[in-house]
């Protein structure tokens, strides 16, 4: 939508370019453009494009921290799909995405709708508070998670001991392989749900007030208004959020690593953690690069899906 404004706004610049073509003063403009673009492109070339190419190349090599590279073909990839740690990471990434979409997004919609539906004095401060957890450094979030769930002196087990709720004080939130995933997930929900909330709020606020008035005249009030009117109008932003959740799961590293380092066993391993373990603990560069390629291709696939939705949305408008 910005592009139309841009093309009209830049008609003058475009005309200048047209008239300048072939004239001797053209080089000044070209030099200026080149000098302006150079720093950004230089940074990206050295620290992004070249490393991307290298990741693909290294993923096809037997390469370790000791140095030396020998051609491996797709050996690294074949081995990955026989590696229980990698498969656990892949499984967790997708179940993480699945549960994020199923739990965090509806929760965010519920909160965002309530906040925009009942606008009163609390609305502004509440929006600020809901996003607060999102900007905390992940090391702090992990620490708070430990304070709450730590089995020996976390606040939950302390309260449980005081109240003699042995069923609760016996739960090992980080050490039980069945529970650890959910503990990390709860901590992540606490911190990550803020973004979908403010995003959906902004989208819902864009809905014209006439629609709401018309809906109220037709008797669609409260939750019926949310379900039949608002939700269909934000279904496309919800799709974008679902893609962001999935891509975020592919990249997930900080919280599970700091809370459980992927353990116990492989119970909370993510693709990010397997990459780190293979690359910087086992020094298996080839395998780690192959995991990097898998992360990249999967996030690329989901991003392309998002763009095709976006395009369809653009057409339907």
């Amino acid at each position: 939508m910005g592009d139309i404004a841009a093309t009209t706004g830049n008609a003058a610049a475009g005309r200048a370019a047209g008239s300048a073509r072939g004239k001797p003063r053209d080089w000044k403009r070209t030099v200026f453009i080149a000098l302006c673009v150079l720093p950004a492109l230089g940074f990206l070339a050295v620290f992004m494009y070249y490393p991307i190419e290298e990741t693909f190349r290294i993923s096809l090599m037997h390469s370790s921290g000791l140095g030396g590279e020998t051609w491996a073909g797709f050996d690294n990839y074949v081995r990955l799909f026989a590696n229980p740690e990698f498969l656990a990471g892949l499984l967790h990434v997708f179940s993480w995405a699945f549960w994020s979409i199923l739990i965090q997004l509806p929760l965010a919609f519920l909160i965002a709708f309530s906040l925009t539906f009942y606008v009163n004095k609390t609305t502004g401060p509440l929006r600020v508070v809901y996003y607060l957890a999102n900007i905390l450094p992940s090391a702090i979030t992990a620490m708070l998670g430990k304070f709450v769930f730590s089995p020996n002196n976390g606040i939950l087990s302390s309260i449980a001991t005081k109240l003699h709720w042995t069923w609760l004080s016996n739960i090992d939130f980080f050490g039980d392989p069945k529970i650890a995933f959910w503990t990390v997930f709860i901590v992540a929900t606490w911190t990550y749900t803020g973004f979908p909330i403010i995003y959906l709020m902004a989208r819902i606020e864009q809905i014209p007030t006439e629609i709401r008035e018309a809906a109220e005249l037709d008797g669609a009030v409260g939750w019926r208004y949310a379900w039949h009117i608002v939700l269909p109008l934000v279904i496309y932003p919800m799709q974008i959020l679902a893609v962001l959740c999935t891509v975020g799961s592919l990249k997930l590293f900080d919280l599970p690593y700091m809370l459980t380092t992927g353990g116990p066993g492989n119970a909370t391993v993510t693709l990010g953690i397997t990459l780190y373990r293979q690359g910087f603990i086992n020094w298996q560069y080839g395998k780690a690069a192959a995991i990097g390629v898998v992360i990249f291709l999967l996030s690329l696939a989901f991003t392309i899906a998002q763009f095709s939705w976006q395009k369809r949305e653009g057409d339907s408008r």
Binding site: P39, T123, P137, I140, L144, A289
Partner: protein, 290 residues
């Protein structure tokens, strides 16, 4: 486009009285908000306690305020050094990425041609590259060119990962400025760079403030890239120190650890409280413009 987060004015529509449901929903929302806020107060429960008090009554209200934990954490976790390192990383990341993004965004907005359009998409691709994908080559490259285990070796890739997003933001910001201003300056005889530095860049100061703020918070909070690029204890940033302490002592040394954590979280929380309007708007700007 940029005003989407402005709160809805209640003046247009006569306020609808919702009565009891509104009260219940608001109470529910406030309770959820408490769930977000209360964990933030946990460290304060025992940061003023001695190790012994903590061992016996970890969650009791502190009766006497001991500030030793702050001084001890300062030496044990080397918070001073950590703060200096983190500040260097933040300032370095801002200094490397903001000028580059502003220049590129300006050209992509106001010098549109086939060539700049292609270059713009080349920059935009970077927005979708996950940092995990390039960790191995970045680490190997730093080893090769002697930037391994240095703050510069962390700052440069961090800046590169900030540039695509902020180029995008600067581009749309410069597009939203009236083109006549730049044209007038050009007619008055200002050169290309004169127009940019004297006219357009000052007009883009909202974007500049926003980028500095958000890059600062991002660099301050970074964990993964710092973890890979820094091995030397002296170079550790605050986040690495906090995480390392958590791994080494778990929850046993919490009073001292909480002191370190409070210091390391304070800048982002303070910046957020002061600039939440900007931060939320800036965060949404990337997501809402498509």
């Amino acid at each position: 486009m940029s005003t989407t987060t402005a709160s809805r004015g209640s003046g247009k529509l006569p306020r609808i009285r919702h009565g009891i449901p509104e009260v219940f929903v608001t109470i529910f929302l406030v309770m959820l908000a408490l769930l977000i806020i209360l964990p933030l107060f946990l460290p304060w429960m025992f940061v003023f306690k001695t190790q012994l008090e903590y061992a016996y009554h970890p969650w009791a209200i502190p009766l006497k305020l001991h500030f030793e934990n702050f001084t001890e954490a300062w030496t044990a976790v080397q918070i001073g050094q950590g703060l200096i390192n983190t500040l260097i990383v933040c300032i370095g990341a801002i200094a490397c990425s903001v000028p580059a993004s502003a220049l590129a965004g300006y050209v992509f907005a106001r010098y549109r041609s086939r060539a700049t359009e292609i270059l713009f998409y080349a920059v935009l691709i970077g927005y979708f590259v996950p940092v995990q994908m390039v960790l191995i080559p970045l680490y190997k490259m730093n080893l090769k060119i002697g930037l391994a285990d240095s703050l510069i070796g962390l700052i440069l890739p961090m800046a590169a990962f900030n540039i695509p997003f902020w180029t995008l933001i600067y581009r749309s910001f410069f597009q939203s400025l009236p083109g006549e201003l730049a044209d007038a300056a050009r007619i008055d005889g200002a050169g290309h760079s004169g127009t940019f530095f004297l006219i357009m860049l000052p007009l883009a100061s909202p974007a500049t403030v926003l980028s500095c703020l958000l890059i600062f918070i991002g660099a301050w909070s970074d964990y993964l890239l710092s973890l890979i690029m820094l091995n030397n204890q002296n170079l550790f940033t605050m986040q690495l120190r906090v995480a390392q302490f958590l791994n080494a002592y778990g929850t046993d040394r919490m009073p001292r650890y909480a002191a370190a954590a409070i210091i390391s979280a304070a800048p982002t929380v303070i910046l957020y409280i002061l600039g939440h309007r900007w931060i939320i708007r800036g965060t949404l700007a990337g997501a809402l413009k498509e």
